[in-house]
Amino acid sequence: MSRQRTMRDTEYNPLVYFIDGLVTLFNGMVVTWRNLWRPKVTVRYPYQRRPVPPRYRGLFYLKWNEEKQRLNCVGCTLCAQACPTDVISMVKLGKGTHAGVSEFTMDLGRCMFCNLCVEACPFDAIYMGPNYELASERRDASLFRIADLAQGGEEAVRKNIETIERLLAEEEKAKPAHAVHAAGGESE
């Protein structure tokens, strides 16, 4: 490496400085020339997309349980309680072992995608998915209803309510005596 030369040097020699400058310019131009032919890093976004990493925190989804033919969510509101910005509200459907939700609304205008609701959920019901294109021209587009969130959409929500109501009805039928007993016990 040559000694650092600056314009303030007392023994400044313009010719040496000039040749030095030309050499460094040439070195720099070699670098930019190589760059000219290197593959470009641009991703032409609307036409091309980067792969989304598996733990990406995008739009939420409610997990569909194929085996039980219902959503995993039981409407316990732990996620709503964990949420610092009060994004989540839900309507519980039934109670006991077969409880679920009929309505699950998230206002993502307030959401900061902190993942706390996902961590709070003990039933593996709510997750964050790979969809990050949530911008819209409508103001109410930040409001996501259960059909927008559930895996499988409207169909899944319908089946979910069907299954839970069927199970609740079966439970009701199977234990009339118990129910009376329980009711009596409660009133005591």
Binding site: M7, G28, M29, N35, P39, V41
Partner: protein, 328 residues
């Protein structure tokens, strides 16, 4: 076909002059579109980007779209501006560029005005650009514009001297002040660039040309990090477009001038002369842009010291060298 058209117009000298003026003015307006597109593409490629891509094939119409946008934008005049000069400055810049193109031969016979002192004329007229920059900077009523304008004047005047001296070396060497004469000399005797004094002159010309068109190592007049955007800070819309167009047309012109002086102008085998002119010009424009996107910019005192302490003495010595070798 072209012959027939020129023959027709030559019967009416006034009309012919008017046609040439219109063609030149529109050429000066259109060529920046191409040069800016090339510049943005090269800038993108050097920075591992793709550059403009979506308007037209490979983004070719992007600059045209930008120009259209600038024409439609609001024209803002700052309060306290010296309105007359503020209005006038961009057009003076543009006119100086058009005047330069006027005497530039693109191919044998393809010159708007055959002038036997074309080199002198170009040197004189291109300095109008400095006037327009000073006018813009002064009349904007903005300290950044003023500083940019003053810097531009200091820089352009300093670099004009070694540039003129190196051009003078060519003039002495070829014994002609007419651009057509210089090119014809090169057609006969080989390109000037192969002769030692002219080689040095070409190097000095190249450096000075970078400074004249405010390209990066010397782009102090519009140093963004210090001066917002220099003398054209307060300009918007149409007027800004004119400054921009004249800057890039100047870029084209200064390389075309270099091609005529050092690289034989339209001279070249196989291809028609006009193609050779444009080929040489665009190769040189590429080199200019390549340099532009490589080094960082210098400080104003470094720039002026470089011009006065180094370029002026070297170009003077080189001029003597050229005279000694060239005079017959």
């Amino acid at each position: 076909m072209i012959e027939a058209i020129t023959q027709f117009f030559k019967q009416y000298p006034l009309l012919w002059t008017f046609v040439k003026a219109v063609v030149l003015a529109s050429f000066t307006l259109v060529i920046p579109l191409a040069v800016i597109y090339v510049e943005r593409k090269i800038a993108g490629f050097i920075q591992s980007r793709l550059g403009p891509l979506h308007v037209g094939p490979q983004g070719a119409f992007q600059t045209a779209a930008d120009a259209l946008k600038l024409l439609l934008k609001e024209d803002i005049v700052p309060e306290g501006a010296d309105k007359r000069f503020f209005y006038l400055a961009p057009y003076i810049a543009f006119i100086s560029t058009v005047l330069c193109f006027m005497v530039l031969p693109f191919a044998p016979g393809w010159v708007a005005l055959e002038m036997n002192v074309a080199v002198l004329f170009i040197i004189g007229v291109s300095l109008f650009n400095v006037v327009s920059i000073l006018m813009a900077g002064w009349s904007s009523n903005n300290k950044y514009s003023l500083l940019g304008g003053l810097r531009a004047v200091a820089q352009l005047l300093s670099y004009e001297i070694p540039m003129v001296l190196s051009v003078l070396a060519v003039v002495f060497y070829t014994g002609s002040l007419s651009l057509t004469g210089i090119i014809e000399y090169q057609v006969k005797h080989g390109w000037n660039i192969w002769h030692p004094p002219i080689m040095i002159a070409a190097l000095i010309y190249f450096i000075c040309a970078l400074a004249e068109i405010n390209r990066t190592p010397f782009d102090l007049p519009e140093a963004e990090s210090e001066l917002v955007s220099g003398f054209n800070t307060e300009y918007s819309g149409m007027r800004f477009a004119f400054f921009f167009a004249s800057e890039f047309a100047n870029n084209f012109f200064i390389t075309a001038f270099a091609a005529a002086l050092f690289f034989g102008g339209w001279d070249g085998p196989v291809l028609p002369p006009i193609v050779w002119t444009f080929l040489k010009v665009f190769v040189m424009i590429f080199v200019f842009m390549w340099v532009r996107w490589t080094p960082p910019r210098l400080r104003i005192d470094q720039i002026l010291r470089f011009a006065w302490q180094l370029l002026v003495p070297i170009s003077l010595a080189n001029l003597l060298f050229a005279i000694a070798l060239g005079v017959r």
